[in-house]
């Protein structure tokens, strides 16, 4: 594959942006709260470097296999980031909110079914069956991701669960990017991969630009601190613990009546 000046520019910008984001996660100690998101950023750095090395020193076939193997890893890590965001939002007390477990399971099922339905409708024009699998696979994953992020907003609002500032910012970034990606992957599917790959490449560049904007947003938002909580007085802390015990027993009583 021949790399143009624009390709190299995107490569350098992506690598630089991920390095800055990783530095922010380290310096501001966000990696302790978001270990999976940090792993996702590290994998992006490793992926960019690995692909350029394979492009420069490897064969066309080795580039193809490296690219798609890493793309699968990237999708898996994106799903893991979704899990991390869900976990930080819907496990307010360390365990999954009891009233939301059913809704979460439904959300996952519906997201997969809708994304699978849309993917089934796609009929990409391609020369190789492998290209069809790749186009359909990336479309499916971006449709799923966008549904999961929108579902997360809906469930959090409906359940009255607050979003922590940084969780909200990471989710918004990835959610908006996934929505843009759905359109781009739909474009890829519609236009297909013919001998002339100019439009395909142009759409890919557009996707990379959207992703760079998303990374820039994360850099700024994760550098900023969350609003500082007020310090609890010793007295209030004690009362709060007592109050929590009382609310716990109230809840048990209400449940017991419900069962009887």
């Amino acid at each position: 594959m021949h790399l143009t000046g624009l390709d190299l520019l995107f490569w350098a910008a992506g690598l630089g942006a991920h390095f800055i984001l990783f530095s922010v996660l380290l310096i501001r100690r966000r990696f302790m709260v978001f270990p999976i998101f940090t792993a996702f950023v590290i994998s992006n750095i490793g992926r960019t470097i690995a692909l350029v090395l394979v492009e420069l020193y490897g064969t066309k076939a080795s580039y193809f296999y490296t690219y798609w193997s890493l793309a699968i890893l990237d999708t898996a890590l994106q799903l893991a980031v979704v899990y991390e965001m869900y976990s930080l939002t819907f496990r307010p007390l360390g365990s999954w909110a009891r009233d939301l477990r059913g809704a979460l399971a439904w959300l996952v099922i519906v997201s997969i079914v809708v994304a699978a339905g849309l993917t089934w409708l796609a009929t990409p024009h391609a020369r190789l069956w492998m290209q069809v699998v790749v186009i359909k696979g990336t479309f499916f994953s971006s449709a799923c991701m966008s549904e999961l992020f929108v579902g997360m907003i809906v469930l959090a609002v409906k359940a009255g669960l607050p979003w922590r500032t940084h969780v909200a910012r990471i989710s918004q970034g990835l959610g908006v990017y996934s929505l843009i990606d759905v359109l781009i992957e739909a474009g890829h599917s519609y236009l297909g991969v013919s001998r002339n790959t100019q439009t395909y490449t142009m759409l890919s560049h557009f996707r990379m630009s959207a992703y760079l904007v998303c990374v820039a947003y994360w850099i700024v938002m994760l550098w900023r601190d969350e609003p500082r909580p007020r310090k609890l007085s010793k007295n209030f802390r004690g009362q709060l613990i007592h109050l929590q015990t009382m609310v716990d027993s109230d809840l048990e009583r209400v449940r017991a009546r419900r069962r009887s």
Partner: protein, 186 residues
């Protein structure tokens, strides 16, 4: 352009539009509720007859929230409970107020993250009340509302009563300036 591709593009367009509309609507709703000030929150509370609520609740529980086992407990007649609560409509008002009670707890939690546990438990209590109201709505459809009302309404009112006490205790503990207003509203 073949027919299959056209359907695919239409489906993707509908899909993306639907997701954008849903996300923007809920995102704005979340922003509004987190930016609400104290006064706006209180205006969302529907005024209910506090003494009636207390009477129905304290018929089966004591002030500490323990279930009463004395002879005078559960003395209210079903018709009295219906009248004091205001029927299913009154119960629906309490259900709507539960959301405000959770927001009130969330309001404190913005400054004191440790209050999260209380807010979360209140949220679960509200879910229980919702469950009772749903049972009653089901009973209404089958024409058994009157007979089912005391069975579900009284525990729901007791849970609501305890929720209001807990929210007040939360504000009391935090020495928050708005306690007097809250006492008035609840």
């Amino acid at each position: 352009m073949n027919k299959g591709s056209v359907w695919f593009l239409i489906a993707v367009a509908v899909f993306v539009m639907a997701l954008i509309v849903i996300a923007v609507y809920h995102f704005r709703r979340a922003q509004k509720s987190s930016q609400k000030d104290w006064r706006q929150l209180l205006t969302r509370l529907t005024i209910v007859n506090r003494s009636s609520i207390a009477e129905v609740a304290l018929d089966i529980i004591d002030e500490s929230g323990e279930r009463r086992k004395d002879e005078g407990s559960a003395a209210l007649e079903p018709s009295e409970i219906w009248k004091l609560v205001g029927g299913l409509k009154g119960l629906e008002m309490l259900e709507a107020n539960c959301a405000v009670l959770i927001d009130l707890a969330f309001y404190v939690q913005q400054w004191y993250p440790e209050a999260l546990a209380v807010a979360e438990q209140l949220r679960l209590s509200a879910k229980e009340i919702e469950w009772h109201v749903e049972r009653l709505k089901g009973a209404q459809k089958t024409g058994k509302l009157e007979s089912a009302f005391p069975m579900y309404a009284q525990p729901a009112v007791a849970a609501y009563y305890l929720m209001t006490r807990r929210v007040l205790a939360l504000y009391e503990g935090g020495n928050l300036a708005m306690l007097a207003d809250l006492r008035e509203a609840l």
